[in-house]
Amino acid sequence: MRSSRRSITDLILHLHPRSVSFSTLRFTLSWGLGGMAVTLTGLLFLTGILLLLVYQPSTDSAYSSVLTLTREVPFGLWVRNIHYWSANLLVAVALLHLLRVILTGAFGPGRRLNWIIGLALLVLLLAANFTGYLLPWDQLAYWAVTICTSMLGYIPLCGEWLQALFRGGSEIGPSTLANFFVLHVAFIPGSLFILMLWHFWLVRRAGGLVQAEQGRAERSPTVPDLVMREAAVGLTLVALVLLLAMVWNAPLQEQANPGMSPNPTKAPWYFQGFQELLLHIHPVYAVFVWPLLGGVILLAIPFWRGSSLPSGVWFGSERGRVAAIWTAVAGIAATFGVILLDTLVLSSDAVAANTLITRGLAPTAVLIVLAVALYALMVRKLRYTRAEAVMAGLLLAVVVLSMCTVVGVWFRGQGMHLVMPWAQGAM
């Protein structure tokens, strides 16, 4: 008995260091978000395996197999709901984790590679979520996937090729389902697994979580201090997910009907910020130029000297906190303002001949000028550090995207017109 307990401890110590710095144990440093992501991934693997036993990946039987699952298989509905809720929570948790990393200065030297792996993990997560979205082959799935694969077509040069590759042909059909199924159950989970292990290992190599006091901080033993805390967060989360899955069902609409797009047709919530962009910006810019710019900036940012906040302190300093609050407020106001302005004033004057310029190049130029001006204002005039300015910029981007998501989820009704959430009835 003793020896078996020893071996469990040893196993844990293969994954964790023997002791961890006391200051990193504080819940409010990391909010346990990384651990939550692992827990949810675990739940997803388990429920995914169960679902795989019932689901049939062909256009004829996919929908009916999901119906069988929810109606006849004991606990089938619950298992599907758990999978659904874990997946959605995982996206939210991963995004919050990203935000936490930005706000506590956890992407500086020594953690650069891990930042990049983290971004790759985020992309994989979104891909996993989205490929899973198609599998039930209902109206929701069919049209969301139609839209998203059509987006690929706007990528210059290889767009059409990519689109045909993902669809497995020119139209959405059996090959598309097969592609998404393979991506969802084999390719993405495999890559996720490898990258996650690498991610954890790099955290450990960088000396654990970011911490404020460098040098000889107090340390506490991993077993039990860290493991207990991890278990507490993990189990609470599992309980929460199971509860959510009992109360709210995962959506399932009618079977896919290629002839009729439901009105409104919305993307899954984590893409609705993006969808809101598509309403305002020329598709080439919304689909290609902006994501490319955003991606390059995100990848490059840790390599800009002094771009990371002092590690382990939220917002870097009290001044940083104030800047962050103002940024968030300004971001919220600006997003709503611009959306209203564009819908009420700008887009009403017919279609300008040159949307590629008026709705592509011009907004992009304005954005770049604004970004440079705001950076100069913060650093030159207000004497913020570069790290604080970068933090404010990234935070602004996150706030704007989340506000677009809020608008997309709650304020867009039939025909994608702006409506009040209570006017469009139950969500």
Binding site: T146, G169, S261, T265, L279, P283, S347, V351, R359
Partner: protein, 172 residues
Amino acid sequence: MKENSSTETATPTSAPTRRRFLNWAWAFFGLAAVTELGWLGVSFLNFRKDRSTPARAKSIITAGPVDMFEPATVTAIPQGQLYLARLEDGGFLALSRTCTHLGCSLRWDEEQGKFICPCHGSSYNAAGEVLTAPAPRPLDCYPVRIENGIVKVDIAAPQKRQCFEPGQVTRV
């Protein structure tokens, strides 16, 4: 590497060349393997791509006699997944029902007299021209033929167009 050292000391002059040769061989075989795998993958995927693009044996569909369509109306032709528009001047235009923005399927709104996309709110007039963005170009159209007073549409491939031109309309 350890084991090699003994043979290397035996023939000190040939060892570096042999090692270099072996390294080259490794690189060569590695590249060959990668190329083969890539080729395999691409041909595999291409085959599926071709096969699932339906070879429409019957690419010409019959919409109906000319008199069936009043001027200034739009009629859905379900078997071709398209709309047949008869313009005010009596010309025919076969329009794809797929929105040129991101591929949702359009609905003809009789009251407002325009195509409305449920996805991002694009709208088009009866000739398929964009009325409201974000759609970037007019609806794709299919070639229309009129034989013995019967309207026929060739649905083999939709034709992209940048703007509406009178040449796209088939007259009786």
